[in-house]
Symmetry: C2
Subunit: 341 residues, 2 copies
């Protein structure tokens, strides 16, 4: 009765440089009835995130590489359609790492599934964004990794993205001056509407010198904190404008994920010494211990209207590769999601 078919995406080839449509192939699988200890789930939403690009390389990293021909993985939320597990009932909403597909049957622990909390008042898609991995990334990165203090001047690249837009707002809530960077007028307007004191349009700035001039104009006395989602010129400009003892949380470098050759690093790393900079990379899973505080704070901030979130939604599993590829072209404002049903 409850057997259904699920379409899902696998790598057809490892992308070289910018991912392209032919790097992905769609597969149809049967989603069987669950055995003992298993659940059958129909996904409602799936997430595409920049970090997935790293898993498309065949190399050792903090997560294993995707395999050619195997359905990709990623965050998803869905609804239990049949259950062989005592803790799960039909209709339960679950979050899992079994994204990039319309549904699945698996033991919950095999796909890192867990039930969504029912009392948050948040839409289910939020658990892939502001109340999920990207939100915790922003929260842990700006508060713990960057050691945010009231009164700091904070520079956030990728400020219109899922993580960056949360960083902007958390820093404002904590009493900081916040300068964002985003690409294009629409995103700049969004970042300002979220409370940023200034937002640089890095596309309008044109090149490194333009970006640096814009940052200098926005923060003439320099910056105390940099939250990096972008890398490249943004990282270099942040070092250039860093005040003594500035702290940098290096979350991602999306401008470099598709590089096919090693790219020269910031030409001013010597300033790390004299300015006594602290530069820290981080991965959200390292900060899983902050989950309870994160959910408490987020619920309060969202509930009281202090924190807003944006989503860019593409419709249908067919669109998943386009959604993913769009991340590298700045196609998203806030969290990029694929709606599946």
């Amino acid at each position: 009765m409850s057997v259904f078919t699920s379409r899902g995406w696998a790598l057809a080839s490892r992308p070289v440089g910018e991912p392209k449509a032919s790097d992905f192939g769609i597969h149809t699988e049967e989603v069987p009835e669950p055995g003992n200890g298993e659940i059958q789930v129909r996904n409602h939403w799936m997430s595409v995130d920049p970090y997935m690009r790293g898993r498309m390389y065949d190399r050792e990293s903090y997560v294993p590489p995707f395999q050619i021909g195997e359905i990709l993985q990623g965050g998803a939320v869905g609804e239990v359609t049949a259950s062989g597990h005592p803790d799960y009932a039909v209709g339960d909403l679950v979050q899992s790492m079994a994204g990039w597909r319309e549904g699945f049957t698996a033991a919950p622990e095999a796909v890192m599934a867990q039930k969504l909390p029912s009392d948050t008042g948040l839409p289910t898609s939020a658990f892939l964004g502001i109340a999920g991995m990207p939100g915790l990334t922003a929260y842990a990165g700006i508060l713990r990794v960057a050691e945010l203090k009231e009164g700091d001047t904070v520079f956030v690249s990728g400020a219109a993205g899922a993580v960056g837009s949360a960083v902007v707002q958390i820093a404002k809530i904590k009493g900081c001056t916040v300068i964002g960077s985003a690409g294009g007028e629409e995103k700049v307007a969004l970042v300002k509407s979220l409370g940023a004191d200034e937002c640089i349009d890095y596309r309008a700035a044109g090149d490194y010198d333009g970006l640096l001039a814009a940052l200098r104009a926005a923060a003439p006395k320099g910056i105390d904190v940099y939250f990096d989602n972008v890398g490249g010129d943004h990282f270099q400009a942040a070092i250039e404008m860093a005040r003594p003892f500035a702290r940098m949380a290096i979350c991602g470098m999306i401008s470099q994920y598709n590089d096919t050759e090693p790219r020269p690093g910031p030409n001013n790393v010597i300033q790390i010494v004299g300015k006594q900079l602290q530069i820290r990379g981080f991965i959200v899973s390292t900060h899983a211990d902050m989950q309870a505080d994160f959910i408490n704070d987020m619920s309060e901030w969202i509930g009281s209207g202090k924190l807003k979130f944006e989503e860019t939604v593409m419709e249908g599993i067919e669109e998943a590769p386009n959604a993913f590829m769009g991340l590298f072209q700045g196609a998203n404002t806030g969290k990029m999601l694929v709606k599946l049903s």
Copy 2:
């Protein structure tokens, strides 16, 4: 009676690239009898240190730039020859920042003068090296900035220098595996004699690929800590071989101090994210609060033979520019000093 003449060195011009002899000019001054609250000192030793190169640029930094035509400053130890200050008597040994000259008359606080402790059993020159600024730099940098832990695999560039040779030994005392890098067979032998498990001859390695291969051979499982005195290829190789959560104390980048153009940074900074690296620059004066612990530990370690120190001594004030320029050619093993009398 006690008036004498002192020769001292000033900048004749700001060096462009590698400093050269014509950038320095020698001046003769009369050292007057001390007034009330002043001391007259004949310097016995003066220090040349890599950080001084930074003060030769006309730019804002953590210490003000040297001025053309004014006698340079730096660490010195000498003997009080006349005193108008109640706390100082003729014959007292004092440390000051009035180096690059044979003697001076000044209020102690104007030249950051303080009496040397008399009970350490150390030669006076040690207060310009292992028991002075370079020693504290090593101590604070490896223990606090790099958060050294027993069992760490530690990579130290400039390992035969004043700071590096102390870092090597402190890390060994703390139960770590230590890999140094130094230029030439003689220095490599020294670093090994100080207890390093391995020492790379970066000159023999030739280029970045050679350096990386040598580091990989010495630390096939990677490094937990990097102490940077050199920058450039060494910094990049350290990032490449860093284990997850590696900590880097960035003390100096002597390979880059004479750059006339911005130099591309490490081409692998993207690894900062996935490896969750912590990179911290530091200046010794920030860690002055460690002075008492430092002197206690150093006295014990030197007294018990656990920690040795090397000096490279040039004789006479005439040699001061050569001593300084020699730092950038690797002319020193351990602390580079000029003996004045």
